[in-house]
Symmetry: none
Subunit: 225 residues, 2 copies
């Protein structure tokens, strides 16, 4: 998923498209518009929006049909779909929600309320940060707590892993000894002079000699030569 959230709006009234588009862009969203149901489906497939706002009544396929078609495709299982329509009817609303819509908004709606709704809906969808860092032939997986070297899992103890993860978080950057102490041991605990070295040694034993290089008088860096 990209950093800025993508929103697709489908409505046959150009005025609506323009006013919504203007407001949503003002909030930093990337906005795509469609003038009818078929165009909505095409653009949804092409742009993989995070949220789709559908007018119910459109030429060609109506909103409900678009929703049904998209919901049958697993690519859109996680996509938020919201109806925005002038039909203020309880049964239509229930049917929409049963068909997989995430919200049902009735026109007229103030831009402010719409923006709140949109932000509230998008807040829920997950933005997974990469938990895996790759450096050379190494993969450091913070989620699984393992390091993979050329496809082979390497088991590290906790402090060792934290140390590798820290150094690998910025490959090539030299981490001062003090910096390492602060970030891994914290400012409270005080450990002896040789503690870092011993850990570095264990890591080198497990990962190979050439993964961490010493910068004498300064610190260590993770680097593949």
């Amino acid at each position: 998923m990209s950093i800025t959230k993508k929103i697709l709006i489908a409505d046959d009234e150009p005025d609506i498209l323009e006013i919504l588009s203007f407001n949503l862009k003002g909030e930093g969203y990337e906005v795509i518009t469609a003038k009818n149901g078929d165009e909505a489906i095409d653009k949804a497939k092409a742009f993989k929006p995070d949220l789709i706002i559908l007018d119910m009544m459109m030429p060609g396929k109506n909103g409900m049909e678009v929703c049904n078609i998209l919901r049958t495709q697993s690519a859109f299982a996680g996509t938020l779909i919201v109806f925005l329509t002038a039909i203020n009817d309880e049964n239509t609303e229930i049917k929409s929600l049963e068909n997989g819509a995430d919200d049902y908004l009735t026109k007229p709606i103030s831009p402010k309320v719409l923006l709140s709704k949109v932000s509230s809906l998008l807040r829920r969808i997950k933005t997974e940060g990469p938990s895996i860092v790759t450096v050379g032939d190494f993969e450091i997986d913070r989620e699984r707590f393992i390091v993979v070297f050329k496809g082979t899992e390497i088991i590290l103890a906790r402090k060792e892993f934290e140390l590798v993860a820290l150094l690998a978080s910025k490959p090539g950057k030299v981490f001062l000894r003090n910096e390492i102490l602060n970030r891994i041991w914290g400012t409270e605990v005080i450990v002896g002079d040789r503690t870092i070295d011993v850990h570095i040694r264990k890591i080198r034993q497990k990962l190979g000699e050439d993964c961490i290089s010493t910068v004498k008088g300064v610190g260590y860096k993770f680097e593949i030569s």
Copy 2:
């Protein structure tokens, strides 16, 4: 997350509590009720509901205050919060959504619409993964509450199953001990140091030694080697 979805309703009108409770229970939800804001907070902490329906005007803390308090606690970051109120005011609605509410419903509301809304909201969070997870020769069926190993059904107690289901929801991911405690026992109950270990041991006895691996100093993960 538990198997059946838990819903907490907070309202000072007993009639509302009863009618909503009746309807939601009829759909298979587990319903907890609270008569005021403070009770809502207590019960939220104790029962970890998946969804909270808050009346805006209540004696003691009002709905907005309850929402704000819960949203400051990370344990409730993933909890859905919905306002149900007679105040049909645009600014209040915007403020609610900005304060972290997931929806804003106005009274009067028909039970049918409410049920659709609830189901639509919960649909999003229940899709944390498929209800059947397959890991190696294991099949964990969260809906039917059973684990199948090479075609043979294995009987687990509830806590054991919840633990397996949690770990298997992301095979390979290391779950911190704290994370496990929070998600299975909740933040209120305090259990001893060895409780998790004992459950893990029982699971290992039933599923085989190699299904859950220990990451010392960190947690456990479900993984087939």
